[in-house]
């Protein structure tokens, strides 16, 4: 069986859900080993990685220098060793690390994949492109493959037999770099799943008029994250980290609710692959209705409170 390296996403000690999805995918391709960048993980994190099949947890401690892509890439390259496949979660940062890994090792690379399999000794990936209007299958011709996977594209399932999850420290010589980190200003981590990982996303656009009370309330009720259009973040109504779209976060939740969002192509590009799409908009001509499974032409100020009342009634029943 091939060794399949998985780069772990973690916030402090918390292993992010997409990592468990990536490990689940890795098990279909070979024997997973996890790569942990940062201070050595606590026992809980290690055992969770084992539950999802990791045979080893290779730990690379780089300190703050690890924020420089080429330093992180050197760590990853050392930890991957001769594993033929590396899986990362498709984030902007990981795309940079993985590109440098591929340059170093000659690997072929696909990002934003929704799945991967062996076909005739080569990795093939599945993707949706052009705002989820096309399905594409790509073959990686090189001996080694790097696959960036999108969150919410594989259902995370624990392994039948736990992986050994033996912790293996990996030593790396930090390469000389040209970049100097002048400052790092940590950002508050919001409660609940981050936008990119949430199973439900409720987004508000210009149609909210800047008041996110109803959008947040519905997101809370559905256990989801709050999203926004760029017009809303540009107005300063809500932080940029909430922006859904081609230049913001790409989301593929099971349910996406668009409130007061017209559905510009830039926005659709970041959410069109969602499972079920629901839209509330007063304009019957809004393009969002072209891709909504269920649309309500109406004022979100009327529609959302009524919908929430009905959902609460249902939950209480």
């Amino acid at each position: 069986m091939s060794t399949v390296a998985v780069l772990v996403e973690h916030r402090g000690e918390t292993v992010a859900q997409p990592t468990l999805e990536a490990l689940t995918l890795a098990r279909t391709l070979g024997t997973p080993v996890a790569i942990w960048l940062g201070d050595a993980p606590a026992a809980d994190a290690v055992s969770l990685l084992g539950e999802y099949g990791a045979e080893e947890v290779r730990v690379v401690s780089l300190g703050e220098a690890g924020r420089v892509p080429s330093v992180a890439a050197a760590g990853v390259t050392a930890a991957v060793g001769d594993a033929p496949v590396l899986i990362v979660v498709s984030t902007f940062v990981n795309k940079e690390i993985a590109t440098l890994f591929a340059l170093e090792t000659g690997a072929g690379m696909v990002v934003d994949a929704a799945g991967a399999e062996w076909v005739g000794g080569r990795i093939e990936t599945m993707q949706t492109v052009f705002a989820a209007t096309w399905n594409v299958r790509t073959r990686i011709n090189a001996e080694r493959a790097v696959v960036g996977v999108r969150p919410n594209t594989t259902m995370a399932v624990a392994a039948e037999a736990h992986g050994a999850a033996s912790v293996v420290p990996v030593a790396v010589e930090t390469p000389e770099v040209r970049e100097t980190i002048m400052s790092v200003e940590p950002q508050a981590v919001p409660d609940g799943a981050p936008l990119s990982e949430a199973a439900v996303v409720v987004s508000g656009g210009r149609g909210t008029g800047g008041d996110y009370t109803l959008v947040r309330e519905l997101a809370d009720l559905l256990g989801g994250a709050v999203g926004a259009s760029r017009d809303a973040t540009d107005e300063g109504w809500i932080g940029h980290e909430h922006m859904v779209g081609q230049t913001g976060t790409t989301v593929t939740p099971a349910l996406y609710v668009a409130c007061g969002i017209s559905g510009a192509v830039h926005h659709r590009g970041g959410m069109q692959a969602s499972g079920t799409i629901v839209a509330v908009n007063i304009d019957p001509e809004a393009p969002i209705f072209e891709i909504a499974d269920f649309g309500v032409v109406g004022d979100l100020g009327d529609v959302l409170p009524q919908a929430m009342a009905r959902i609460r009634e249902h939950k209480g029943a």
């Binding site: 590109t99 990686i140 040209r178 590009g269």
Partner: protein, 264 residues
């Protein structure tokens, strides 16, 4: 100071985009300069305008088929000084590594007499959205990599950027030469004015072939690509879509839909 801005020719977002034989369909009719490269052009022009007249030259660089000229022409309309188009049949089907090899050689050629201090790229091309090229190009050039900049300043022979990552906002600095990729937060691109549009019509566009760049055609293009699209098909539209008009019960209808689908 010499700045190169990379601009990519991509299908217009508003057009119906498709695949032909495993590559993105690109035609002059519905193709254009990648929108996010407008931010890269703007960043370069702002640096130029902050320097005394004549101290900074901005080059726009594209790699692609004959139609890709439209991308550098657009950059000229926005106000760059020079345009370079790497146009060679052998580059068709290049993956990111092939593209980076070609663009790096073109940057080196542009820098033959006066070295290039800064390369500015967009954060992503809105066709594939891979965001891989800037990293690969910085690596091939041996330049410092300052990617995903939501702010950029150049002073004292160094570039400094702000990089907004999910967990923290970083400030990163490097001595020139450097490659910077800018996000759409970095600035607000200008519109071309009439005078520049007229002037761009007659501005020459330098064309390089792979031979001009000393690149073996077999090392780039579809044959050297480490990935091949083996199948591409349009996704079926969503079926059974329903739109209701709220006449006082729209919220209930929405809730019932979610309940029915088991999403609540």
């Amino acid at each position: 100071m010499r700045i190169v801005v990379t601009v990519k020719f991509v299908p217009d977002l508003q057009s119906t985009r498709s695949f032909t034989e495993g590559t993105v369909t690109r035609t002059a009719d519905d193709g254009t300069m990648n929108e996010l490269d407008e931010n890269a052009v703007e960043a370069a022009l702002q640096i130029k305008e902050s320097l005394p007249e004549g101290e900074c030259e901005v080059f726009a660089l594209t790699m692609g088929g004959a139609d890709a000229t439209a991308a550098v022409r657009k950059a000229l309309q926005l106000g760059v000084d020079h345009a370079v188009h790497v146009n060679d049949d052998a580059v068709a089907g290049s993956d990111v590594f092939g593209t980076a090899t070609v663009l790096a050689a073109a940057v080196a050629k542009i820098g033959e007499e006066t070295p290039v201090d800064l390369v500015i790229t967009g954060m992503a091309a809105l066709d594939g959205l891979t965001s891989m090229l800037p990293t690969a190009l910085a690596h091939k050039l041996g330049f410092a990599q300052l990617t995903l900049a939501s702010a950029l300043t150049v002073a004292d022979d160094a570039a400094t950027i702000e990089r907004h990552l999910p967990d923290a906002h970083d400030t990163v600095s490097a001595k020139l030469p450097a490659l910077v990729s800018v996000t759409d937060e970095a600035n607000k691109p200008r519109y071309p004015n009439f005078k520049l549009i007229m002037a761009a019509r007659s501005k020459p566009i330098a064309t390089y072939s792979l031979a001009d760049l000393g690149i073996d055609p077999a090392s780039v293009g579809a044959l050297a690509a480490r990935t091949t699209v083996v199948d591409a098909s349009p996704r079926p539209p969503r079926e059974n879509r329903v739109t209701v008009t709220d006449k006082g019960e729209g919220g209930v209808a929405l809730a019932d839909f979610l309940i029915e689908r088991g999403l609540v």
